[in-house]
């Protein structure tokens, strides 16, 4: 565990990192970024927590079982969205033109509309969930292993 200054700064910064990561995930169909990148940003916040605090404290919040359930959920949502468009093709964007995320922006540069993109924002969310859970599990397992303790199931 690091000094009180580092812990306090980590506590103050954590919400901003989470908000920025979720912004990158949610706006993946409008601005550069997406599920993989935003998930990596959030996991960098988890790494900061691991550095500032002990892994015992982080382990109480992020249980490995919860993380594995989160990752499986993300993967299942992704595959389900891919199979939902199987009527036309695998990974067909079937939500374009429907009321859900279905608006079509004009071709060419434009400011953008959040309610566009079809299945792309939903897939970004699923992939983001998967990346957050997967990389957090990896980082947590490495921290626990390097401390020489038993890795819990």
């Amino acid at each position: 565990m690091l000094s009180k200054i580092v812990r306090t700064v980590t506590n103050e910064f954590m919400p901003f990192i989470l908000v920025f990561g979720f912004y990158i995930i949610a706006h993946g169909h409008l601005t550069p970024g997406g599920g993989f990148q935003g998930g990596a940003v959030i996991v960098s916040g988890v790494v900061m927590l691991l550095v500032a605090f002990n892994h015992q404290e982080v382990k109480q919040v992020l249980r490995e079982r919860t993380l594995s359930i989160m990752e499986s959920t993300g993967a299942l949502i992704f595959i389900a969205l891919a199979f939902a468009g199987i009527g036309a093709a695998f990974f067909y964007n079937f939500l374009v033109g429907t009321p859900i995320f279905g608006r079509i922006p004009p071709t060419g540069p434009n400011p953008g509309d959040f309610w566009t993109g079809g299945v792309i924002p939903l897939m970004n969310l699923a992939v983001g969930l998967k990346v957050i859970a997967g990389l957090s599990a990896v980082v947590l397992a490495m921290a626990i292993f390097s401390s020489g303790e038993e890795v819990e199931e």
């Binding site: 169909h29 997967g134 890795v151």
Partner: protein, 93 residues
């Protein structure tokens, strides 16, 4: 003798690399740009996404992203498996 052979091999490698670099066509001018032009012209209308890269990653080339997600899953599984197995072996008989 070994050093001499190594030098020869290095020179051959460098010659091939220079030859290959000279054969690259200019940056930004692909040989066939039909697919690029089609995606740039139609991505916003077909997928409704302003970020054309996202529309390629999750729509036109979605199968590739499925493989990417599978790689991530395999990596996580492998790391957890290796760390647990080495821990168990240390405590074994």
């Amino acid at each position: 003798m070994r050093r001499f052979t190594g030098l020869i091999l290095l020179l051959v490698l460098v010659a091939f690399l220079v030859w290959g670099v000279q054969l690259i066509h200019p940056f930004g001018y692909p040989d066939t740009s039909d697919m690029d032009d089609y995606i740039i012209q139609n991505a916003q209308e077909e997928t409704g996404s302003n970020n054309v890269v996202a529309s390629v990653v999750f729509d036109y080339r979605g199968f590739d992203t499925l493989g990417e997600a599978t790689i991530l899953f395999t990596a996580v599984t492998g790391v957890l498996l290796v760390l647990r197995a080495s821990k168990r072996r240390e405590e074994g008989p």
